[in-house]
C-alpha cells in the first residue's frame, strides 16, 4: 500500500519538477512548483516526518509560494526568449550526467543501510513534540541563528526593493540600455543610473 502512495508521490514530484523547468509562463512554473511541494509533503508523510510535511505545506507551499505568486504578478510573465548558447544542450546534459552519477553513487556503492527498510519505528518519531524538544535543546543555536537570518533577509529585501527618491525619467534608461556595453567596462551602478558618471 505504501508503495502505491510512494509512486504516486514520486511521480507527482517529478512531474511538478519537470513542469517548473519546461513551462514557458513563469506563473505556470510557480503553480507547478506548488504541486511538486505538495507531492513532496506526501513523501515526507510516508517517511514519518509529520511535522516536516506540515511545515512544508504551510510554510513553503503556503507562504513562500504565495510570495512568489505576488512577485510574478507584479513583474509579469513576459515572453521568454529561447535560451541561447551551448547551454541549451549542455545544461540538460550536465544534469543528466549528475543524475546518473548520483544514482550510481547511491545504489551501486556500498551504502548498505539503503537496502534495508530503515530503523524500527519509535512512536513519537517525527512528531512536533520531538522536533520542538530537539530545537530547544540540542539545536538551539541553529534555531536562533535561523531566526536571525530571517530577520536579516526581511530587512534586506525591504532595502533592496524600496523606491528610491529622485529616479530619473524613463527615456534615459532606454538610451543607456541600448548602447553596446563592453564586458569589461562600466558597472552595474552605472547601468542602473545610480551613478551619473558614464
Amino acid at each position: 500500500m505504501s508503495a502505491v502512495f510512494f509512486f504516486l508521490g514520486a511521480i507527482g514530484a517529478l512531474a511538478g519538477a519537470i513542469g517548473v523547468v519546461m513551462l514557458r509562463n513563469p506563473f505556470y512554473s510557480v503553480l507547478s512548483l506548488v504541486f511538486h511541494l505538495i507531492s513532496l509533503a506526501a513523501l515526507f508523510l510516508l517517511l514519518r516526518a509529520e511535522f516536516v510535511a506540515a511545515a512544508q505545506v504551510v510554510v513553503y507551499a503556503g507562504a513562500v509560494m504565495v510570495l512568489y505568486v505576488f512577485v510574478v504578478a507584479y513583474v509579469g510573465g513576459g515572453e521568454e526568449l529561447p535560451s541561447g548558447g551551448g547551454l541549451r544542450i549542455l545544461g540538460p546534459l550536465f544534469a543528466l550526467v549528475l543524475a546518473i552519477e548520483l544514482c550510481i553513487a547511491m545504489l551501486g556503492s556500498a551504502l548498505k543501510g539503503i537496502s534495508g527498510k530503515g530503523a524500527p519505528y519509535i512512536p513519537g518519531f517525527g512528531s512536533p513534540r520531538q522536533i520542538g524538544t530537539l530545537f530547544l535543546t540540542k539545536y538551539l543555536f541553529p534555531f536562533e541563528v535561523a531566526s536571525l537570518l530571517l530577520l536579516v533577509a526581511a530587512i534586506g529585501a525591504v532595502v533592496l526593493a524600496r523606491r528610491r527618491r529622485g529616479l530619473e525619467p524613463d527615456e534615459e534608461f532606454e538610451t543607456k540600455l541600448h548602447t553596446p556595453l563592453s564586458h569589461r567596462i562600466g558597472s552595474m551602478a552605472e547601468s542602473v543610473g545610480a551613478r551619473r558618471d558614464s
Binding site: 550536465f94 550526467v97 549528475l98 552519477e101 550510481i104
Partner: protein
Amino acid sequence: MATTTFAWIVLLCPLVGTILIGGSFKVLKGRTAGVIGTAVIGLAFAFAIATLISLLGHGPQQRELTSSVWDYARTLNIDARMSILVDPLSVFMMLVVTGVSMLIHLYSVAYMASDRGYTRFFAYLNFFVFSMLLLVLAANFILLIAGWAFVGAASYMLISFWYRRTTATKAGLKAFVINVVGDVGLVLGTFFIFGHTGTVDFVKTFHTVPHVFVRDSPDLVAGAMFLLVGAFAKSAQVPLHTWLPDAMEGPTPVSALIHAATMVTAGVYIIARMHVIFELAPAAADVGAIIGGATLLIAASIGLVVTDLKRVIAYSTMSQIGYMVMAVSVGAYSAGLYHLMTHAFFKALLFMAAGSVISAMGGVQSLDRMGGFRKAMPFTFGAFLIGGLALCGLPPFSGWLSKDDIIGFLDHRGGGFLILGVVGYVGTLMTAIYTFRMIFRTFFGEPVPEARELQEGHLHHVDVPVNPANGEVEELDVGFPGPEHHIAERAMPMKVAMSGLALLAIVGGVAQVPGVDHALSSFLDTTFADSTIIRDEHSTSAAWIGLIIGAAIALAGIGIAYRVWVVAPGTSAKLIERFAPIHKFLINKWYFDEAIDFLIVRPTLWFGRFGNTAIERVLVAGVITGGTVSIVRACGALVRRAQTGFLRYYAAAVLAGITLTALYFLITSS
C-alpha cells in the same frame, strides 16, 4: 709608538683632511680649506719622518713590518685583511708622496685662490693623497687594487675639475677609461698569481712564489704581463699613454702632483714591489724594459715638436718614467726609485713654474704665444731653469746622478741591455733639446705683450675668459677657472713651495753619489735583498765615466737648442719645412690616438650599437621581455574569457565542478 702606528697615522691624516674639508664645504671661507689641507699633509709628512726614524731603529733584517686592523674576508681561505706593510720601499714612497704633496698643497693655496671650487679642490687633493698612500702602504693585493682604483678616481675628479669645460671632462673620461683598462690588468694579474699561491698577502706571496712557479712558467708570465698592463696604464707608457697629455686640462697643481710626482709613479712602484714575480718571469720583465725604452724615445720625440707648454712637460714625464720603468724592470731598483724621487722634485718644480708662466699669460698655454719673460718673472725663470737643468741631468743637480745611475746599471748588465743604455743616452740628448726649447722659447727672445705688461707691473688680465684649447667662451662661475691668475712673484706660498722644491732638486742628489755614499741603496736594499739579479757594485770609476758622458750629452743638447732657438731664430721653421712628413708624424703624436680610435674605440662602439639594436632590442626586449609579457597576457586573456558575467555559465561551472568532484570520490571509494 710602534712604527706601524706612525704609518697608520700617516695614512689617516689625509683621510681626515678630506672628510673635514668635504664635510664643512659650505662653511669654509677664503683660504681656510687650503690651510687645513696643507696642514694635514704637513702632519702626515712629519709622521712619515717619524716612521722612517722608527724603522731605522729596527735592525736591517727586521724592517718588514705588517700591521693589520681588520680581517674582512675570511671565506675560502682568502686572507684579505686591512693591513699595511711598512718596509723601506713603502716608507720611501710615503716620504716622497707626503713631502712633495705638502709643497704642492702649499703652492695651490695661492694658485687656486680665486677659483670658486677652492674647497672642493682641496678635498679632492687630500683624497688623492690618501689613495696614493693607501696604494703604497697596502700589504696585500686587495688593498693595492683598492688604492689603485681610488687613485684613478681621484685623478678623474681632478682632471675634470673645471667640469664645465667640455675638453676637461673629455680628458677626464679618457684618463679614467684607460685607467680602468689598467685596473682590469691588475686584477687579472692578481688572479693569475693568486691562483697558484693561494694568498693575497704580499709577504706571503713573495715567499711562496719561488716555490710554486718555475722560471717563466706560463701562468706567472701571464700574471706578470697583466700586472704590467696595470702599471703601464697608470704610468702612461706606450700604448696606454694617450691620456696623459690630455690630462693637462686639469689645473697646474694637479698636473704637478698627480701627473709628475705621484700617481704616474705607481706603475714603477708596483714593478718594484713585485720584483720577486718579475725576476722569476724574465719574459715579462724584458717586455717592461723594452716598453720603457720605447716610451722614452717616443715621448721625447713628441716633446720636441708640441707647442703647448704643459704638454711638453707631460711628454717629458712620460719619457722619464720610461727610464724608471726600464730601471725597475731590469733590476736596478734603487736606481729607478732614486730617479723617481729626484724626478718628483724637479718635475713638480717645472710644473709649478709653468703654472706661474701660464698665469702671467692669462691662461694661455701655447708656446707660440710666449716669449721673453726673463725680465718680467725672474723668480719663475730661476725655478724653471733649475728644474730644467735637473731634468737634463747636468751636474750637480739631482737628475744627473739619478739618471746616470740607471744608465750605468744598464750598461753594466750588458748584453741586450746595452742597447737600452744607448737608448737612455739618446733620450738624454732629446731631453736636453726639448727642455731648453721650452726655456728658450718662453723666457728668451722678444717679450710678448703680456710680458711687457708684467714688466710694467701690471699682470695681464683677460676680459673674456676663453678655453685655451678650443677657444670657447667661458664664464667665471664654479666649474671654470677663477678670474684671477696668480704668479709666483706675487704669492708667497707659491714662492716658498717652489723654493723648497728647487733646493731639493739641487741637493737631492747627495743621497746617492757613487763612490761617496749610498744611503738610498743601502736603505732600500733590505727590501730587495731577495733579488736574484747579480748586482755587484760596478766600480766607482765606471760610474763616474758614465756620469761624465751623460753630462756631456746633455750639454750638447743644450747647445743644439741654443743654436736653433736663440742664435738663429728661424732655424726651427726651416727644419719643420724640410722634415715636414716627420714633423707631421711627430706632431700627431705618432698617430696613437687615431690608431686606438680605429682599432678599439670604433669596434667597441659598433659592437655597442649592434648590441643595442640586435641583441638588446630584438632579443631581450622583443623576445624575452616581450615574449614573456605576451605569454602572460595571452594566458590572462584566456582566463578572462571565463569572466563572462553570465549567471548561467557560472552555475554550469559550479555544477561541473560538483559532478567531477563526486566522480572523483566515487572512483576512489570503490
